[in-house]
Structures are given as structure tokens and as C-alpha cells.
Subunit: 149 residues, 2 copies
């Protein structure tokens, strides 16, 4: 197995041994690990405490850039849509994962800790749109006015 | 217009005036605003600095719970999939938004700061799976062994 994925899986195992969830991630550049993360949901009330997102945040702060397009992500579990979207915005497109969502469900992971494609679609369909009042400043247009001369 | 959405839009306008992106969010319970957030991408290198996610994190830490199912989200812009997924995991399903992704693109927002359904699908299709080595501890099964007796 790839040594970087081995490390991500090792982090996941260690996190379970410490009372956490079975997820670890490493970010790699030029053959070196530059950031690591594990799932921290057992430690803090913070829905964003996923291994991949924490590794991304650590690295962005370290390199003082939002752009991680030169990096590769190795995640022990298939990244959820939260982490996928974060990777998209960070320009991080070279992504490897090991264990699948199906494996998580098969192992007995609580259903509400996994999100299927249908779950996301259901949530999207349930979101309700309220149009902007005609008397209100339009934030998008104000932004465009200030930034797109 | 709904007073809670008015506040979310007001936060977005204020954030633009302070150099930020046009996104604000408030979380409501029992007719009261209990958390607010604005997009902080202009201030910190942190891809997760979206209005909705920051409001969620603030509230989870305040109420010391991951479960926000009793709350309602008002976001000035349509929540991205990162924030949608965070809401799903937090059990937050009562969601209102004002401005659409199409409005953002029409206003001239940079393409890579918006993510379409196709962008997400493309990223998902490009993710590569590496199976677990037979000699390695399986993190998911270890978790199940410890937690599902």
C-alpha cells in the first residue's frame, strides 16, 4: 500500500484507540507529508472537525495561501461532501481515499453520521428561497460595484 | 421580507463594506437570533470561513451539543455544499436562503469561488480509491469492535 495512505490509515487507527472516529488524513507535496489531521468530533462540539478539513486549514494557515492546487490529499475514509467542497474551493483536486461510505455503513456506523447522495439531495430540495426585498441593499451587487470596475 | 433574513442580508452588506465577501447568516430559535456569522475569507487563510459554518460552530460550542435540529438557518446566499453537509450532520434541516448561485455568477463573482453541481460531480469522479492493505488494521472495524458490543 502507498506509504502516504498507510500513514492516513495509521492516524485513523490511533484516533480510534484514543476514543475518536476512524478517520485520518495527510496532505503531501514533493514526496513529503506537509499536514495531517484526524477526526476530532469526540473532543469538541464542532461539526467541521473532520480529518481532511483540519489538515487543509492547518496547511492554508501555514503557507498563508488559500491555493492548495499543488498538493495531494490522502484520506483514510472517503471524504464527505463538506470536505470535498472545501477541497474544491482550495483547488485541491488530486485526492486518494481508502475506505468507502459503504464500508462505514457495513461496519455499523450510525446512519446519521454518514450522508448518502440522497440525503444531500433531500436537504437541497428542502431549502427555501426568500427573494431580496426591493428596498434592501443587494450584497452581491454592492460587492460587484466595489470589486469589478 | 422576513426580519431574520433581513439581518442575514444586512450582515452580508456590512461584510462587503468591511472588505469581505457578500455573505451573512443567522441561526434562530424560538423567535430569537442565537448565532451570527459572516464570510471571513478576506481575513484568514481558511477555506471553512463561510458565514453559515462559522455560525454553526459558534452555536455548537455555546450550547455544547452537536445537535442543532431545533434551530433554523437564514443565509443571505444559497449555502454551498460544504455548509449544506455541515447542516446535515448538525441535524439542521430548516433552511432559508436569499440570493442564488446564479445571481452570484451573474453579478460577476469569480467562477472558482462558485461551485456548480457539475463541479462537485467532476471532483467526486476524479477521487481515486486505494484499498486497505491486508496486513493493516482496519480503522472502521476497530471502531465497530470497540463501540458496537
Amino acid at each position: 500500500m502507498d506509504k502516504f495512505m498507510e500513514r492516513a490509515v495509521e492516524l485513523a487507527v490511533k484516533n480510534v484507540q484514543e476514543g475518536g472516529q476512524p478517520y485520518g488524513a495527510v496532505i503531501v507535496k514533493d514526496g513529503k507529508i506537509v499536514a495531517e489531521g484526524v477526526n476530532t468530533l469526540h473532543k469538541t462540539f464542532d461539526v467541521s472537525g473532520h480529518a481532511e478539513l483540519l489538515a487543509i486549514r492547518e496547511l492554508q494557515q501555514e503557507v498563508k495561501s488559500d491555493d492548495l492546487s499543488a498538493y495531494t490529499m490522502y484520506a483514510s475514509g472517503r471524504p464527505c461532501e463538506m470536505c470535498q467542497t472545501a477541497m474544491y474551493f482550495a483547488g485541491l483536486t488530486d485526492i486518494y481515499y481508502c475506505q468507502t461510505l459503504e464500508e462505514a455503513i457495513e461496519a455499523g456506523f450510525p446512519e446519521d453520521s454518514c450522508m448518502t447522495k440522497e440525503d444531500l439531495e433531500h436537504l437541497q430540495q428542502s431549502m427555501k428561497q426568500l427573494p431580496l426585498g426591493t428596498d434592501m441593499t443587494n450584497p452581491l451587487k454592492l460587492w460587484a460595484h466595489l470589486h469589478l470596475k
